[in-house]
């Protein structure tokens, strides 16, 4: 299935994500060292790399949970977390950043569901709190989304009454409730027991076919090969190589990529 046919099925407008010259360091430790990346609308990008390579930091910079020291990110041409003032970039107000985040979904490794709210309220919270939908409309949407991730019967449960796989599916439903143009996945299956990985990947695969732009940090090479339009390999805070999965995973050009793949596979 090509990116074009996916776009036809999209129920939201898929977004373009551009990362421009992003550097990030903590003290003297360089985490990202000049990242440039463009993700086209509806494209599924899988980011691979050894642990500590900066993949998660890159994701967190895209939705401005972390600030880049140098460089900037734009989604559909709109700068994230900053605005242009003449020739300088100026920090945006907290409120404006929160509004921008509504257009970027984020799925955490540890789910981070709100444990004191029911599954339904977890999904309905953001549309209500941001004033996009009324309470009953938001709950209706939440029910529909929970149905889509196969949890229609769990609406009244609390997160800790669910398995890890079920929790992550709720988290995905929560992330798409705001109908974001792009969804970022930060190692969505790493905290799961092996037998629960499949159900979560199935939901992500379904999202991929719906035409939303996805950026996925994962160690599931098989999944990357099957779903990704593009694979990006990061090491030492730089993009080592990128391209179609068959190319990067099948015939890697770089020593470091080969090295990494031999350890993972």
């Amino acid at each position: 299935m090509s990116a074009k046919t996916r776009e036809a099925r999209a129920d939201v407008e898929a977004a373009t994500v551009e990362v421009h010259g992003v550097h990030k360091w903590y003290g003297t430790h360089r985490v990202l060292d000049g990242i440039d990346l463009t993700v086209r609308p509806g494209e599924v990008t899988v980011v691979l790399g050894p642990s500590g390579s900066g993949k998660s930091t890159l994701l967190r910079i895209i939705n401005h949970l972390e600030k880049p020291e140098i460089g900037y990110v734009s989604v559909n041409g709109e700068l994230i977390g900053v605005k242009r003032q003449g020739e300088r970039l100026k920090e945006l107000s907290e409120r404006a950043i929160l509004v921008q985040r509504g257009r970027i979904g984020f799925v955490f490794q540890n789910f981070n569901l709100f444990p004191h709210l029911t599954v339904l309220d977890n999904v309905a919270a953001a549309p209500i709190a941001t004033g996009r939908l009324g309470r009953s409309e938001a709950q209706e949407l939440a029910r529909e989304l929970l149905g889509r991730v196969g949890l229609a019967d769990k609406t009244g449960a609390y997160p800790r009454q669910l398995s890890g796989g079920q929790q992550q599916r709720v988290a995905i439903a929560r992330a798409i409730a705001l109908r974001p143009g792009v969804i970022l996945f930060d190692e969505p299956t790493s905290a799961l027991d092996p037998e629960l990985v499949g159900e979560v990947l199935a939901v992500i695969k379904d999202l991929a076919t719906s035409g939303t732009t996805l950026v996925i940090v994962t160690h599931e090479i098989g999944f990357a090969r099957e779903v990704a339009d593009r694979v990006v390999f990061i090491d030492g805070g730089r993009i080592v190589e990128q391209g179609p999965p068959a190319e990067v995973l099948g015939t890697p050009r770089h020593e470091r990529t080969r090295d990494f793949l031999s350890k993972v596979l």
């Binding site: 985040r101 984020f106 709210l117 919270a125």
Partner: protein, 326 residues
């Protein structure tokens, strides 16, 4: 002492003794008999009975005078003062504590320092000193005014008219309570997982909503038990308000004890029973509030005492039937 001694494993049916011995693998293990536990239980029961008997029959306690004083208007007036001062101070103290805790957790070094200093000072000063200072505050500063700091005042008011004894007591206790509540609230907020803050931020939830609906309700799980502890201390702490010439429950009893020196002991017992009642009421409320905020924290809610009692009675019934069958 709610657990009956012995073993409380419940069997669906009693084993029959006249059956021929079954192979070992098919047998139930015979529960261990614990005669020591029975002896200790008996001794404890005898001591308790003796204590209760003494409490009832010893003329030292003068229970007839106790019943005279228990519902006297002067005692009930004192009780009302205790309740009023406690409720106002608990609410204001918690509100102040939330503000102080947020200031302490803010990124502004000035706010952090001010909050830290406040907590440090107020926790160091004895409550009695705070009360005595406040009580005489109106004499030291005759008027309070609202206006530009160090500049002209827009309007001012006579403080002695504003500061009744009740206000002085509530302000004094609240100032003190806020310092302790600040630490309780701060601890509660810090106990909320960092991931919760991140998830709320990543969803773009407005800042106020994040605090009110996501962070604070989870913080309450650790705030409630600690703050109730504070509250019980506060109920008894109100017995210091005689320092601002306000007679609470304990103060009323002490005053009456000097006028009626023959009734000192029954008066102290009246106060004790009232404090027992107040503390019990607070504990019951605590149980249900905690249960409310435990939603989602555990897989199932803890049973209410009534539910527990019912289960226990059912268990006991099964056990009696089983023992009878043996």
């Amino acid at each position: 002492m709610s657990e009956p001694p012995g073993v409380t494993v419940t069997f669906a049916e009693a084993p029959k003794t006249d059956d021929p011995p079954q192979p070992l693998a098919a047998q139930r293990v015979l529960p261990l008999r614990r005669p020591g536990r029975w002896i200790v239980t008996a001794v404890v029961l005898i001591v308790v009975a003796q204590f209760v008997h003494g409490l009832v029959t010893n003329p030292f306690y003068q229970w007839d005078r106790w019943s005279y004083w228990f519902l006297r208007p002067t005692i009930l007036d004192g009780l009302l003062i205790t309740l009023q001062v406690t409720v106002y101070s608990a609410v204001l103290g918690l509100a102040g504590g939330v503000v102080l805790a947020l200031a302490r957790l803010s990124k502004s070094p000035v706010l952090r320092a001010v909050s830290w200093t406040y907590v440090w000072v107020l926790r160091s000063i004895p409550l009695i000193v705070v009360l005595i200072f406040l009580y005489n505050f109106s004499a030291l500063y005759q008027t309070l005014s609202v206006g530009i700091p160090f500049g002209p005042a827009f309007f001012s008011f006579d403080e002695s008219r504003l500061a009744t004894d009740m206000v002085v007591a509530v302000v004094g206790l609240s100032l003190n309570e806020a310092a302790y509540a600040a630490e309780v609230v701060r601890g509660g907020i810090l106990s909320v997982d960092q991931g919760q803050h991140e998830a709320a931020a990543a969803l773009g939830l407005p800042k106020g909503y994040q605090f009110r609906r996501i962070v604070f309700p989870q913080a309450l799980r650790s705030i409630v038990p600690n703050y109730v502890n504070q509250l019980i201390g506060l109920i008894k702490g109100t017995s210091l308000v005689f320092y601002v010439s306000l007679l609470d429950l304990f103060g009323s009893a002490q005053t009456m004890g000097s006028t009626y020196p023959g009734d000192i002991v029954p008066l102290l017992l009246v106060v004790t029973v009232w404090y027992l009642i107040l503390t019990s009421v607070v504990s019951v409320i605590q149980f249900y509030v905690e249960r409310h905020y435990a939603r989602g924290a555990t897989r199932g809610l803890p049973p209410t005492p009534l539910q527990k009692l019912r289960t226990r009675l059912t268990d006991l019934g099964a056990r009696v039937r089983r023992e009878a069958a043996v």
